[in-house]
Symmetry: C2
Amino acid sequence: MQNDSQILKPQAAPLMLGLAGFGTVGSGLIRILEENREAIIRRVGRDIRIKTILVRDPGKTRACAMPEGARFCGSREELLNDPEIEVVVELMGGLDAAGALIRAALAAGKHVVTANKALLAEAGNELFTLAQDKGLFLGYEASVCGGVPVVQALRSALSANEFSSLTGILNGTCNYIISSMTINGTSFDCALKQAQELGFAEADPTLDIGGFDTAHKLILLVRLAWGVDYPYAELPVTGIRSISPDDIQFAREFNYTIKLLGRARRDANGRIEAGVFPAMVPTSYLLARVGSSYNAVRLEGNAVGSIFMHGKGAGDTPTGSAVAADIMEIARGDRPNNLGYNLRGLPPADIVPTEEAISSFYIRLRVKDRIGVMRDVATVLAEHRISIQQALQKGTDDIVSLIFMTHACKTKDVIGALAKLAAMDFMGAEPVYYRVLPPPCGD
Amino acid sequence: MQNDSQILKPQAAPLMLGLAGFGTVGSGLIRILEENREAIIRRVGRDIRIKTILVRDPGKTRACAMPEGARFCGSREELLNDPEIEVVVELMGGLDAAGALIRAALAAGKHVVTANKALLAEAGNELFTLAQDKGLFLGYEASVCGGVPVVQALRSALSANEFSSLTGILNGTCNYIISSMTINGTSFDCALKQAQELGFAEADPTLDIGGFDTAHKLILLVRLAWGVDYPYAELPVTGIRSISPDDIQFAREFNYTIKLLGRARRDANGRIEAGVFPAMVPTSYLLARVGSSYNAVRLEGNAVGSIFMHGKGAGDTPTGSAVAADIMEIARGDRPNNLGYNLRGLPPADIVPTEEAISSFYIRLRVKDRIGVMRDVATVLAEHRISIQQALQKGTDDIVSLIFMTHACKTKDVIGALAKLAAMDFMGAEPVYYRVLPPPCGD
């Protein structure tokens, strides 16, 4: 019996795809299906072919050649009315056209694979219910952390856990900018410009640096980890624009690294506290070691303990790797439950208001260097029940930086104290505060 | 439609399990199924119950209470003849009895979930073929890296990749011992004793510290990544006994950390070079940061780039988490392909003989401190085509340490050179050599 290897099932007809969008990820997918064709057939038992590609402008120059046997089309209907096409791969991005395509594809009985985190964050509950009612697969492994297999892990291999928290570096552009500021000591604007020149950031970087892309992905992770629908519009989101080289330097002095995190926790009452914000991460955390444009997720489950996954979160073939994996599930005949729950539609999340969230904080004030300022600041903090763990004054100009690391306190107390301080006449700039992650407990 | 959540399918009859073995992992599984019962039902749509537990000694004290409604049995037949039991969970360990149980369970038409890496490494090709012929699921997520979802990732979410290498810290006991030697500067014997006192190492630690447990897991990873059967008996295995505090100190001076690795690469001709050995890992690698008894795997795929996964590789509920996930797949009605290939039995691996493997090496010699030794050593190395990258002499006793970091060379040349050196009259101890991993390329 040993090593008596045989093909299990004779090769079936190719699985035919209709692809919508021929940009970075579309090109990556095409390359993977070409270059790894033999390996893919060896795994799933049939070929996977792109038949039709929906694009607005067939004349545009693309990053790779048209796949053999494929043709362009200009209308959704051409994809959807083709009975040979079993799977619609949506890689157009955006909300309206992509949403309309996915709804129509599901209505036409076609499986859908997408990398569209924005759409799934905003309309996921509706789209997953549509897919479920039709018994169709709506694959979205590529929509969180590109090639890092976190969607499948949450849906399946880690699904025996009750999760207490999940923390992710979910946006490569932001991590590239912050890492570059950390290593080179450059300003935010400088690092952003460099990231744009190298292709790590868009010309309009708002979606990334505003934290909104991270927020989309966090909504999907919350849905997978806890089986609840957290409305995207209610998620508190802070981007990275306010981070100064000073903050990074101060963080280092306290043994922390600044990262933009998407983070969610569930409390003992099942309430979800979630948000996107720059945070001080202890340097001993693996999360603090995530450099360049890499992504990572740390999950904390009551059975498994902490799980950390790290890899490329964007780019042509890393994201294409996840798209192709979802397509291969369909080619194999597997029909995984899209969300991993025995539910049609998810119930709304019971949300902890941000102001109630408890954390340690880093507070940075720019103040005029004169007598009594420290006393006044300390008085305001004390009035707001904020206990100081460490303090640091730096600078020799008229304006100096006052840095505080607090003990755990309520976010609303910090917001209240900083609002009061902002109005005082010794303040030289808007106060800044970031959360501080607790030191790791043996992991 | 938003938030209109309904139960998808009415609750089916519970999935009934027969459990073989009530040790650490068995207790962990029982606790997970009890404590997370509600969450599990919410995910899979039915309860999961342990009906019968096969043990040798029902009177023995266990780490947790008998699950409600379960009973002990003393013979395999009682499990296998019970038509209500759909899944046999094999957590006895060992080869013969466990193998006989799994064969009989598959023959009786029952799905099998196991954490038995030794058995699957030695008899996997036979057992997977048996399961396939019967259309049964043989789940083994728990057999590699405990709760870290690497089996599923290789079988599915990363399966569009051609892998070039995989590198793992796969044994928590060894990593605990090496980490403890690294942090505390203690000797191997001391660190082993401490690990035994803390329950991280068995009374007879041979399976772990000899590298054999790592080897079992590596065989399973090679099977998943490349769809080939690498005979366990042919895998070169070096354990951690020869590591001295000196080696760890020297490694640090060269910016490396010593780790016991299971590592496999595939060359351009599809040949597999695999082995278990202590290696110098550049400190900038995430693998170098894996502390205590944690496990980690780094995969390199042609589409996804590098993926790194980290978590608890052993212990009651971390391993139980993976066992429970496999059981949940069965409860959902999913029947993933056990190996992820459209093959009945895997073909044999085309193996690169260890001696042909090319690597940089760390070489440590203990030599008598006298004139001409360095010249003689350097001559022997040159005769064997070994080019020295860095050299270091340390020590003030009669016997000093000579350390070399080489450029890339053939393993057989190192073995040849050290055999010649070992016979020389100035040698104070057996020469030691470890591989050196190349520095990371941007990851």
